[in-house]
């Protein structure tokens, strides 16, 4: 690149009035942002390498405003009122790498002005009013790698213009009104790694819509109107992150991701998915989270052969009748397995939510290695004495709202949270040492709390399950499972694995036991006249 002219000895490069300038070796960083400037200052030093004119009142760029700035590498013009740019505005900026024009009033790509920027790598045109992208828009930009066109008024993918950007690596077309992706839309973008198309109106996707994107790793199709599974992804052999949540997709076909063996995350919650192909999630050795909520037509547990890294599986409100015994062997890393369905005979891996089913009996060897189990809202009359014996690591057990008269204590020594209210026949109090690690207890009667510490002082009334302030009747069964496995009552169905890990360890437990309903003057601990009936 051209050598710097020799400034007069001792003369400091000039800094435009009001602006803030910093010398960096021989070049200058000039910050003229938020000064209310109506136009580009004239007295700009030729040694300017960084020029920030953002958040001013510039509506027009003078044709030769930056002609002498051969060393300018970054030019910020964001947050002004620029509606058009004359053809020669950026001529002479041979060193320019970063051009920021976001948050202006451009309605079309200033193709003429962008013609001669051979070293431009990053071009920000987001948050304008662009609806027209002429074919020659990016002709001179052979070095362009990063392109922002999000939050504009595009209705089509600018196929011809984009096909002149062989070096492009990352692009966002999000927040536009694009309604379809034609075949071969991105055919020449062989270097593209990231493509964001979220918050558009995409309904149709050509079967060859993503052909040519050999290096794509991240594809974001969230918040669109896709009616069918985006089968065009089959050509994306290096895809790692895929999102199509908040669309209108009803089925995930067999072998859906056969062409994407490197997938690590798939987000597709908030779709009316009814059917999932048995083989849809096979052979995804890098996948660690799979959430299949509300897929009411699923009859069989998905075959997860070859998807060995799965840690969190959420499969609520499906129609599964049987859980294959081999599921634990197939998923050696599974830590959380949330299943909302009628499952008479099962064995689970780590923890499970089985609320609102029709389970009426639990057999001897039903549960293995669980840490959290929610069986609330069933019709359980009887629990076999050995049902929990193998559960050395069970810490949370919810048996509320059943028909229990007794609770076998074998195997429950590690419990920190126990919920039993809603079992009117369960009237016997527990011995204090039955649950040595208990922190939170909810029982049918107040006197059953008296075994756990004094009846006054810090004895707080508590409803300690993670549930939000929602009464059980109007609680969405799916939401309860989520709140048993924390994230937050307000978050998406798709849970962050580390959040769950944090709660399962519950490292910050506090010694005092929270027991409800708490005894008081009208629910005393000591029974009157030798009859506990009076106490109730």
């Amino acid at each position: 690149c051209a050598s710097a002219p020799n400034p007069k000895p001792g003369a400091a490069p000039s800094c435009p009035a009001q602006c803030h300038c910093e010398q960096d070796g021989i070049v200058l960083s000039v910050d003229c942002s938020e000064l209310g400037l109506p136009e580009v200052p004239s007295a700009l030093s030729p040694l300017t390498a960084y020029l920030d004119l953002s958040m001013n009142n510039i509506s027009q760029l003078q044709p030769s405003a930056f002609r002498r700035l051969q060393f300018l590498e970054e030019l910020r013009l964001s947050g002004n009122q620029i509606s058009s740019i004359p053809g020669e505005a950026f001529s002479g900026l041979y060193s320019l790498k970063i051009l920021m024009l976001q948050n202006n009033q451009l309605s079309r790509i200033p193709a003429e002005a962008l013609r001669d920027l051979p070293n431009l790598q990053s071009l920000r045109l987001d948050a304008n009013l662009i609806s027209v992208v002429p074919e020659e828009s990016f002709e001179g930009l052979q070095s362009l790698r990063h392109l922002w066109l999000d939050d504009n008024a595009l209705t089509e993918i600018p196929v011809r213009a984009l096909n002149r950007l062989p070096a492009l690596q990352a692009m966002t077309l999000a927040l536009n009104q694009i309604w379809h992706i034609p075949d071969y839309a991105f055919q020449n973008l062989s270097s593209l790694v990231v493509l964001h198309l979220h918050n558009n109106r995409i309904q149709h996707l050509g079967a060859n819509g993503f052909d040519g994107l050999h290096n794509l790793e991240t594809l974001d199709l969230n918040y669109n109107e896709l009616l069918e599974f985006p089968g065009a992804i089959r050509t994306l052999g290096r895809l790692q992150e895929l999102g199509f949540h908040n669309n209108n997709i009803k089925a995930i076909p067999e072998n859906a991701f056969v062409g994407n063996p490197l997938l690590q995350t798939i987000h597709f919650y908030d779709n009316p998915i009814q059917f999932v192909g048995q083989s849809a999630f096979q052979y995804l050795p890098k996948l660690h989270t799979l959430s299949l909520n509300g897929a009411t037509d699923i009859r069989e547990f998905p075959d997860l052969k070859g998807t060995t890294s799965l840690e969190v599986l959420t499969l609520t409100r499906a129609g599964i009748c049987l859980l294959p015994r081999a599921v634990c062997q197939q998923l050696p890393n599974l830590r959380v397995c949330t299943l909302h369905s009628a499952v008479p005979q099962t064995s689970f891996c780590f923890s499970s939510g089985l609320q609102h089913n029709r389970i009426h009996e639990i057999k001897a060897d039903t549960f293995v290695q669980l840490t959290a189990l929610d069986l609330s809202w069933n019709d359980i009359h009887f629990i076999h004495p050995d049902a929990f014996v193998t559960l050395r690591s069970l810490t949370k057990l919810d048996l509320s709202d059943n028909h229990l008269a007794a609770l076998p204590l074998g195997g429950l020594g590690s419990l920190t949270h126990l919920k039993l209210q809603g079992n009117p026949a369960l009237s016997e109090p527990f011995a204090e040492d039955s649950f040595p690690k208990l922190r939170v207890l909810e029982v049918p009667y107040a006197y059953q709390c008296c075994a756990y510490g004094s009846c006054g002082g810090y004895f707080r009334a508590s409803n300690q399950w993670e549930a939000e302030g929602v009464s059980p009747e109007d609680e969405d069964p799916h939401r309860r499972a989520l709140e048993l496995f924390p994230g937050h009552a307000d978050n998406h169905y798709d849970l962050e694995a580390d959040e769950i890990q944090l709660d399962l360890e519950d490292s910050k437990l506090h010694p005092s036991i929270q027991c409800t309903p708490s005894p008081g003057p009208f629910k005393p601990c000591d029974h009157l006249f030798e009859s506990w009936i009076i106490r109730l």
Binding site: E34, S54, M55, R76, S78, G79, M100, Q102, N103, Q121, S122, R124, D126, A127, R145, H146, D150, D151, Q169, A170, T172, A174, L175, S191, V193, V194, H196, N199, N215, E217, T218, E241
Partner: protein, 115 residues
Amino acid sequence: MHPNVSQGCQGGCATCSDYNGCLSCKPRLFFVLERIGMKQIGVCLSSCPSGYYGTRYPDINKCAKCKADCDTCFTRNFCTKCKSGFYLNSGKCLEKCPDGLEANNHTMECTSIVH
């Protein structure tokens, strides 16, 4: 200054308050949280500060952190300029360039080997 709308707010704020700074931004600006000593205030910018990337949503535009080895990024997983000591290769910051590419110590990028 009693918390109210737009009076005395920093340039890009739509609403603000004395203690919390910006509570919401003018359209198309990015909301960023800035910590100054004990204080944490909201600020509204036309582009995210260095070390952050912006994501636009219909209701709010937010800045989030790039990875630790990255100075500027397009998304969290795609870096556009690495911190010193790392070489940039297709959005990743590497301490050593992979086989078949050579380290360019001027641009701090991995480039194809020119024979």
